[in-house]
Symmetry: C3
Subunit: 422 residues, 3 copies
Amino acid sequence: MDSLWVVVCACLVFFMHAGFALVESGFCRQKNAVMVLLKNVGVLAISSLVYYAVGYGLMFGEGNAFIGLSQLFPAGGSEVSGLPIYVFLFFQLVFAATAATIVSGAVAERARLGTFFAFTVLTTAVIYPLVGHWVWGGGWLSELGFHDFAGSTVVHAVGGALALTGAVLIGPRLGRYGADGRVMPAHSMPLAALGVIILWLGWFGFNGGSTLSADAEGIAPVILVTNLSAAAGFVAALLHSRLRSGGLDLSMALNGALAGLVGITAGADVIGPGESMVVGAIAGVVVVEGVMLLDRLKVDDPVGAIPVHLICGVLGTLAVGLFASGAETKGLFHGGGVGLLGTQALGVGAVTGFCLVVGGVAWVAMKQLPGGIRVSKEHEIEGLDLAECGVEAYSSGTSGVAEPEAELQPSGSLALTGEVAS
Amino acid sequence: MDSLWVVVCACLVFFMHAGFALVESGFCRQKNAVMVLLKNVGVLAISSLVYYAVGYGLMFGEGNAFIGLSQLFPAGGSEVSGLPIYVFLFFQLVFAATAATIVSGAVAERARLGTFFAFTVLTTAVIYPLVGHWVWGGGWLSELGFHDFAGSTVVHAVGGALALTGAVLIGPRLGRYGADGRVMPAHSMPLAALGVIILWLGWFGFNGGSTLSADAEGIAPVILVTNLSAAAGFVAALLHSRLRSGGLDLSMALNGALAGLVGITAGADVIGPGESMVVGAIAGVVVVEGVMLLDRLKVDDPVGAIPVHLICGVLGTLAVGLFASGAETKGLFHGGGVGLLGTQALGVGAVTGFCLVVGGVAWVAMKQLPGGIRVSKEHEIEGLDLAECGVEAYSSGTSGVAEPEAELQPSGSLALTGEVAS
Amino acid sequence: MDSLWVVVCACLVFFMHAGFALVESGFCRQKNAVMVLLKNVGVLAISSLVYYAVGYGLMFGEGNAFIGLSQLFPAGGSEVSGLPIYVFLFFQLVFAATAATIVSGAVAERARLGTFFAFTVLTTAVIYPLVGHWVWGGGWLSELGFHDFAGSTVVHAVGGALALTGAVLIGPRLGRYGADGRVMPAHSMPLAALGVIILWLGWFGFNGGSTLSADAEGIAPVILVTNLSAAAGFVAALLHSRLRSGGLDLSMALNGALAGLVGITAGADVIGPGESMVVGAIAGVVVVEGVMLLDRLKVDDPVGAIPVHLICGVLGTLAVGLFASGAETKGLFHGGGVGLLGTQALGVGAVTGFCLVVGGVAWVAMKQLPGGIRVSKEHEIEGLDLAECGVEAYSSGTSGVAEPEAELQPSGSLALTGEVAS
């Protein structure tokens, strides 16, 4: 029964990748939408293969406080945490893919596909598994009593920190900042909004499955606080962005919901419903400020991945120290003098620092390769869809009501005798 | 195990909100699509907070035959109907949000966001919980033997009646009726169709979870009849609208599927497969007639929320009296002289009347506020997306293949030295 | 518990129909998108009714080696394979609808709706149930030891073979081949990509539920290999199409994922993770070649249904003979002299041949009806949406920012006194 619950939750987390793909392609410009989709489904495919082959072993294999060193291409038959290993592995696999796909949004519309996929391999084979080993694989942070229930740090701060390295080192989109810099609006708000609802839904699996058991008493509050924090984040971001800009900003409100979800992820098991609304509301305000701050710093993050995942991942990790209720805090805390909040700060700081360094080094190294890490100016201006994928996201030029005339012109050509069967 | 089933079903019902958002934005005009999405996700967020804080207590708290009066901000740890309270609460919460979001479609494209959200608070804090208490919380209608398995009355007739008050009191969209009135076609049929499939899927959770237990013998027929009724509704509406108009009307057929789903909701536990197809087919015909009737009455309901949810909600409630099989009817019926059909009519009549009065009074009262309940003519004509949200749903003007030339014009501006990193 | 698992999986398979609808409408031209949606939701509705009424009985009723002959309009209360009959029936029903909907993609944009729906009735009432009876209903192929775990043959080769008959006998779209033949690009890549992710998700239910039990040890590897094969198919198709054409072809990569899924479906219970990646990679290469081959043969298949479902269905069936591991192969094999691979070849050959004959005869017979099996040239050129459904998929002509001026022209008409309520 535990297994079934975890498989269902893994399916919900898998579905989050539809959400990420929609949010990113919706928020980006039309001329790059196909490339975004290719990148997002590609991350899912590559992560699946790489994490199975290598990442899982480095994360959960036998090893030391810093790395696991067994279980490459893991065989079936054994159990982990009371689950068949392949159930546990599949659940972990969709998490790894989540961390990797967060990077995608921040470097959208100008990263080279090849180097991005190479970075994805690095993320899911090494970076994410290492951090995961520290926190969930019995490593040094778990020894310290660091508490990250479903991954505010392990998934979201990791993905968000790597996203920051990419956004900074690849640089902003052409024309985004500078003398005549301009806002580049979402090409499809319906896709983006659908994506966020799907992510919100998937988060019930993300947090709910992290109990790794079908214990209803444990699952029930996790699901409830996840929902309340998202709701509070949405409302807070809508109100706060209204205060700051005067308008009704759907993008900000949607990112507010995601911020609330990221914010409650570390402590969904130890934070009560009332406090979860506070966490969500803070995250909703913080994400709006974060988006504005990044723009002032000219860090171009087309979808808001860095404020949502890095900033609110840090926030959520610290929220455990601030909002976990008394009895549960005692259970968590065995980290010594610095207290739970200090342990949380230490953990998320170490993880973020590690990711910034490794991610930064990786991008800089790949820059030396022929072609570098960024598409050519010509391709970026033309749009990656036509320039690199050879298609447009919406081929309205060759379809729709404008077509009949064109097709009818050479009237002889319509008499495709033998081809029209009826 | 019961809890897991109910949580999974709650997730399916949660996902219905993606369906509602897509159906409503798809059926509306492009110029209002962003506002529709904002409204729909907003309803989900607000309902989550309000129902947790207040609505649940009024619905399921200890009280009298008319209202519950405890369990505001309910604490965890206890059980309800054999489920952990937060499992039960989360399932009820997504139902409450469903009732609230039904209203949204009928007032789309011209309701003011602020007053609509205020109405949402009223719906999920008071109106829906009161009716819910009468039927599912041990109130007077449950005492009479009124049978509403999953909410043809409690959710759909409530939402639909409130939708009717909104549509009438806010009035039709500019240009919809009158001398040069015209049809306002769906701006995206793919979004609408996807939304309906998602709703159909979610209904398996809506009805299937209403058993509140994981008893497979009970769930199996519920799922089957839900599907058969939807299928029959789709086919009947497609055929009937063809008879009435001569064309193949996808909108009507989709609403026919929803009509079949609403129609079977009250009796999914007591109506057999054969009868469920009859119920669905009737609902499919009725919804087509209902849409046409509302248009003759100049009640502007952009998505057909009133025919689907109010008319078929009433129909479904009465269907229990007409189609429930003998043995099960006996079990249901303890309402005295009027018989089961009479009890059903009394119940749905009382609920609908209550909602029409309370909803009507609320809209009239809010009309007195500065700004009223409707957007300005200027905003309505311009479209709420640009006028109030500051963005378009599809920013094709600033993206796509037309852009490169524009970007290339001031060639100097492309040399954003320092921003292009590779 | 088994029942709950199967119901959840059935819901996932049900959701695949959203995937099919999106893939097909996304890959088709805009002018036919509404008709595609109508056809896809219609298939779901019709299949639901027909399979319940007739198909289930022919597939699982008592009978002989070739056909079941009882259980029309099956009554509830009994058990099948340890599940309540309506759970088992609902799971089988969504499978039947899948086989039927595969045909839809191959004949898109030119098949007549009425004859296509008639073909759907034939498929779900007779063709699919017969084959299903042979393999899963205790018929002659199951006697021979033919192994088709979740339907590479029963669902996909059947759907794909029927699709081939339709594509050939209805003929290619006007203008697709011939002197000035041209590619007809997907009208919406985001819809297509979302559809594929949904299908990938749904496949966890498709394969995972085919265990018909909640045995976690059995489910775990099935889910894992399903995911790995899809991932390998995506990557292989992306790389192989790049080799063949030089570009980044999202359509091919998406079809590669589907190819991997179809390819692993027959043997998901007996093929290990490592081999599953091989199967997926082969399927990804084969589907690219298959698409190109069909184009050389001038068989017009707008979505690639034939390469994905027929070719990879055959491949997946044979893969059981090639890749099933030793111990499991022994368990499977009781077919006599030809060996497991021979049995698999015999089975899929017989099924495919049967479908080609029956499907071909059916289309030819329907061609004799007034109206035939293909829409008129005029309708095809105008687009089926405007010509037959009376609407466009995207009504941008009547909405958006261009509208205000038009509405403001007859300024008197705006003063719809009495209609504007606030």
